[in-house]
Every structure is written in structure tokens, then in C-alpha cells.
């Protein structure tokens, strides 16, 4: 089962991991994106994720489907969180399982790279000095097929 969701609640990585796996599979890869305590040398106190949630859900489902197709496996699961996150909280969890390891690494990597390119989500860093700024992001390639 390919599974994806965009959530406002905390992500449970173990639950995402549990959505993949199959007796055919010899490899599982889990990727977690975490809010870290600094960006380009500036101390960060937290991160606020804004998103176009309905479209983000559709894009994330499409990305997961593409990753599954590349991997030849329907065992791909991904959750992305929105809202205000503290340092150390999980912003994204991606799991993939495949018979051989190369495909599982590739699937997880594909999902996070495509998220960075086209998921309609934005983040505002909050700094220790109480300022905040929307982070520079990537202009998604306009593509009617997506």
C-alpha cells in the first residue's frame, strides 16, 4: 500500500515505518527530516510550516506514487507535518521497502528531493533573537502535467 498524508499533528516515525515491509522485501529505508537548531550559522528556536494543504496532499500522493513506480514496489509511505515545530521534531518521515537495497534508498531519496522541489509548503524560521523569516525556497517548475 502506497500511503501519504500531510498532517497537523506530530508524526510517529514508527507508525510510518510500520506501513511498509513485505515478506518479499530485504531492505527498508526510513528518512526523517528534523527541525535543527541552526541554519547557516544562525541559532534557530523553532520552525513554522505553512502549506497549501489540499494541494500538498495531492502532490505528496503523486510523489509517493512516482517513487513506488521507480522502485517497483508499492511499499512507500510518507508523512509531512505542518504547523509550529520545536527543535528535534520530525517534519517529514519517509519509508520504503523493496526486495533489494538500492531501490529502497532511491525511493526514499526521490521522495525527499521531490518534496523540496514541488510540495507547496513554506517554512518560517524563528531565531533565538525573536526575529523570524520565511526561508528562500525553490521555484517549482510549472508543469501542467503535474
Amino acid at each position: 500500500m502506497i500511503w501519504s498524508d500531510v498532517l497537523l499533528e506530530p508524526i510517529d516515525p514508527a507508525a510510518v515505518l510500520d506501513r511498509v515491509g513485505d515478506p518479499r522485501d530485504g531492505a527498508v529505508v526510513l528518512f526523517l527530516g528534523i527541525v535543527r537548531n541552526a541554519n547557516e550559522g544562525r541559532p534557530v528556536s523553532g520552525m513554522e510550516y505553512d502549506g497549501y494543504i489540499e494541494m500538498a496532499r495531492e502532490q505528496l500522493a503523486a510523489i509517493a506514487g512516482e517513487a513506488a513506480e521507480r522502485a517497483g514496489s508499492d511499499r512507500v509511505a510518507v508523512a509531512h507535518r505542518l504547523g509550529a515545530l520545536d527543535i528535534g521534531e520530525v517534519s517529514v518521515a519517509i519509508a520504503a521497502s523493496t526486495p533489494h537495497r538500492a531501490e529502497a534508498f532511491d525511493a526514499a531519496r526521490h521522495v525527499i528531493e521531490e518534496i523540496k522541489k514541488r510540495l507547496p509548503v513554506w517554512k518560517r524560521e524563528h531565531y533565538l533573537d525573536r526575529e523570524a523569516a520565511w526561508l528562500d525556497g525553490r521555484l517549482p517548475a510549472a508543469a501542467a502535467s503535474r
Binding site: G33, Y49, D50, G51, Y52, E54, M55, A56, E58, H80, S91, V92, I112, I115, K116, K117, R118, L119, P120, V121, W122, K123, R124, W134, L135, D136, G137, R138, L139, P140, A141, A142, A143, A144, R146
Partner: protein, 81 residues
């Protein structure tokens, strides 16, 4: 015709609003919509002249022709993950 426009992140702060309804002539494109918004004055003028757009939750281009009732989102450079 009327379309609903959604704004996010820095765009929302410039516009002072997360959504607005815009009246456009039939056959107007997403690019024409963006020009109309920028012509409203105030923070709207600071919206970028070129922006990624989504029409009904799919990425589209400045040339995409809009229809009555479309949901058009201006998509700032994305930064998820």
C-alpha cells in the same frame, strides 16, 4: 467571471490576506490575474511579476486560461521537508 485566489507565506503577508476573489474578463490567463493583483496597490504591488501558480491544485503556467470558479494559488518558492 470570478476566480478565487489563495496566497501563502510571504505573499500572504504582502497582501494582508490569505485569499481574495478577483473579477476577470472571460479568457483571462493566470499571468493576467497576477498583473491584476499587482495593480491593486499597497502590498499587492510587491507580489512578484513572475510566480509559480496552481489552478485547481495543479501546477499551471502564466499562459493557462482561467475559467469561472477556478481556485488559483500563487506558489512562492517552496521549502518543505
Amino acid at each position: 467571471m470570478e476566480v478565487t485566489v489563495l496566497l501563502f507565506a510571504a505573499h500572504r503577508e504582502l497582501a494582508g490576506s490569505g485569499s481574495t476573489v478577483v473579477s476577470l474578463p472571460e479568457g483571462a490567463t493566470a499571468g493576467a490575474l497576477l498583473e491584476t493583483l499587482r495593480g491593486r496597490g499597497g502590498g499587492w504591488t510587491q507580489l512578484p511579476a513572475r510566480s509559480a501558480v496552481a489552478v485547481n491544485r495543479r501546477y499551471a503556467t502564466a499562459d493557462t486560461v482561467l475559467r469561472e470558479g477556478d481556485e488559483v494559488a500563487l506558489i512562492p518558492p517552496v521549502a518543505g521537508g
